[in-house]
């Protein structure tokens, strides 16, 4: 009697499992991937909000108009980088379009991983390549002068300040402040009793975190990572002075928990009115002016990136769309890139998703759209000018060996910048000195430079 019952106890679930398996086998044949005839393309991208918007509106607009089906895969930056590298190196041809940053674009172009876009952009009359902001084009071009990635959205850096706090103290922020002025304001406005720090700056380790703002300070203080002949200058007096200035400012008048603060943390701190100033990405402004996400909306003033020896010091960053060289659908891939980075796309996003979500910072014409100007009134002009003034070729006082304002456009920099940033972050925490951090940094920079001499 129990003999017959027992087997059924496990054959039941097994049969169900088998059925589920078979049903899903039948279903999985549905979605098509990349095709060789250009009727479908695959796009590999990072999960930034602007990319998600892109995925959201593609089917109803691009696919509807062109008949080209687009399949998106979203991965974090590091995995995305690995995947593209692998695919190109093995001639896999699995991806037709990938999102890459301004740091990768020239390096990958140099490695021969990317399809050039100049010939497509020039032949595409509707694309209006001349409308793209010059610094964006420069930072996404290879040494051969050809465009290798089309900018999707871009940013520079500027100084944001809490106008209420400035007014209360009777202080006026100049349009183009110097770092010395900023340090003075920070001292005057630092109010521990009220829980307001003088300034908020990134202290979180990472070449793209702490060293984005810090490298711009180094640039304007007359320092550089490398001279044109690849001589490392990390322990040079200018680099040290800038780093000391940054670390001291943060230690004396910065936000609590500075060594763990990145862009996100500073956005929270400043957005909750807990800092008088914040020097960071221009793209922060959209969130700061959104009353749902910040308590300082409408009360923020914007000034150009503070300077010392140079006339301007804002950084330059872009997220761009590129074609891996191995794509088998170059024509369809360009149609998609052209659509996503074109003028009409910005209007489409503005009118369907909201004007604050427009992927701005890459085209002159964006800043002529009335609705966008209205939505970004407080910061549109200064953002545009900051981007236009950024010079990725020569961001400091001396000629540079590689592209990049807040980074050095060589593959070794991600590792170098991150390692040195860990020590500088420790200096902000008071666990080491700036001198020690930079002495170690110089040694690491020597190693990186030896590959390029």
């Amino acid at each position: 009697m129990p003999r017959t019952r027992s087997p059924r106890r496990w054959t039941g679930p097994l049969a169900v499992a088998l059925a589920v398996g078979l049903v899903s086998t039948a279903c999985s044949g549905a979605g098509g991937g990349s095709s060789d005839d250009g009727s479908a393309i695959t796009v590999l991208m990072v999960g930034n909000p602007q990319m998600e918007d892109l995925a959201k509106v593609t089917a109803d607009n691009f696919t509807k108009d062109t008949g080209i089906e687009v399949r998106f895969t979203i991965l974090p930056e590091n995995e995305l980088r690995d995947r593209v590298t692998q695919d190109v190196a093995t001639q896999g041809g699995q991806y037709d379009v990938a999102t890459i940053g301004a740091y990768e674009a020239p390096i990958w172009a140099q490695n021969g991983w990317l399809h050039e876009l100049s010939s497509y952009a020039d032949a595409d009359t509707g694309y209006d390549r001349g409308d793209l902001l010059e610094p964006m084009v420069a930072s996404l071009s290879g040494t051969d002068g050809k465009l290798y990635a089309a900018p999707f959205y871009g940013e520079s850096s500027f100084l944001m300040y809490n106008r209420e706090l400035f007014d209360a103290e009777g202080l006026t922020m100049p349009e183009r402040p110097t770092w010395q002025q900023v340090a003075q304001f920070a001292e005057q406005l630092d109010d521990d009793a009220a829980g307001v720090s003088g300034i908020c700056l990134r202290g979180l380790p990472g070449w793209g975190e702490l060293f984005a703002p810090l490298t711009t300070v180094v640039n304007t203080f007359g320092g550089t990572w490398f001279e044109q002949d690849w001589t490392p200058k990390v322990n040079a007096p200018e680099f040290a002075e800038a780093t000391k200035f940054y670390v001291d400012l943060l230690r004396e008048h910065g936000q609590p928990g500075a060594p763990q603060s990145g862009f996100t943390e500073c956005l929270n701190t400043f957005g909750q009115g807990k800092a008088a100033m914040w020097y960071d990405a221009t793209s922060a402004a959209g969130t700061l002016e959104d009353p749902d996400a910040s308590t300082v909306a409408g009360k923020v003033g914007y000034a150009y990136a503070p300077v010392d020896e140079t006339d301007s010091s804002g950084w330059l960053w872009a997220w761009a769309l590129a074609m891996p060289k191995t794509t088998k659908n170059a024509d369809s891939a360009w149609k998609f890139i052209s659509w996503a980075t074109g003028k009409e796309y910005e209007k489409l996003v503005g009118s369907s998703l909201g004007w604050s979500r427009v992927p701005a910072g890459k085209r002159q014409s964006t800043y002529e759209i009335a609705e966008y100007r209205q939505s970004a009134e407080a910061f549109a002009d200064i953002t545009l000018k900051s981007i236009q003034e950024a010079d990725p070729v020569s961001p400091g006082v001396q000629p540079r060996p590689a592209l990049g304002v807040q980074f050095v456009g060589i593959p070794e920099f991600a590792d170098l910048g991150t390692k040195v940033s860990q020590e500088v972050s420790a200096a902000i925490a008071g666990q080491t000195t700036v001198e020690q951090a930079l002495a170690d940094g110089q040694r690491l920079a020597e190693e990186a430079a030896s590959n390029h001499r």
Binding site: P2, R3, S6, P7, R9, W10, P13, L14, A17, L18, V20, G21, S24, T25, C27, S28, A30, G31, G32, G33, S34, T42, L44, V46, G47, N48, P49, E52, A55, K56, R71, F72, T73, I74, L75, P76, E77, E79, D82, R83, Q86, D87, T90, G92, Q94, Y95, G208, G257, F263, T264, E265, N268, S283, A293
Partner: protein, 280 residues
Amino acid sequence: MTRTVQPTRRGAGMTGAAWTVLAWLAGLLFFLPVAWMVLTGFKREVDAASNPPSWFFTPVLDGYRQVFDRDITPYLLNSVMASVLSTLLVLVLATPAAYALSIRPVERWRDALFFFISTKMLPLVAALLPIYLLVQDLGMLDNVWTLIVLYTAMNLPLAVWMMRSFLLEVPAALIEAAAMDGADLLVTIRRILLPIVAPGLAATALICFIFSWNEFFFAVNLTATRAGTSPIFLVGFITSEGLFLARLCAAATIVSLPVVLAGWIAQKQLVRGLSMGAVK
């Protein structure tokens, strides 16, 4: 019947209570990250990122809304297919192998057993490049069948070892008795062996299912847009710009549900199965 309540051998009194408390504490400690994940999934992004973290908040469904905005279905289907089919294949292959290593041991069974497990000693990353190139040559990149074959191969040694220890539990006298009664091999397997090792089979199946369901390394390297499994879907919510913790936790909660469900269905068998080798 077998369903006897375990006598409280450690007895009542202080020691018993202390063990109970300790067991519960350990259990809660292990469960804490899961509970935190589920909680965070219902937070607003700003609350999820707050430091120090908050236990009390107004739950919202924003995270889940964002997850369903992206199409999760193909990823779940791929995962179900890769996990279920590879688990079935593993059971079909591992059980006879385990039989030949326990009840009717082949010659030099000990060597065979270690040969099986030695395949688990190679780090996965060392195998990646040759596997990638092979799969590419076969034109099987971005194909869910590639994952099924790989997951089967990965879980097979473990399943053979597990099933062997379960089969060893079957008293030899029982099989002999069946033979005396004239039962042939198939009848013996169906009527004698399977009922006894069913809990072990369930435990093995669940472990193989969980391993395949959560596998990320091969999935991320061998798939592109069509065959991506749910772990690939998950990491897509990590971004360097903007907050993502709440939506990531919401997605992780959804993706964990099938495993929890499978464990819950197999619960009764599992408790017996997992402690089977322990009580000799």
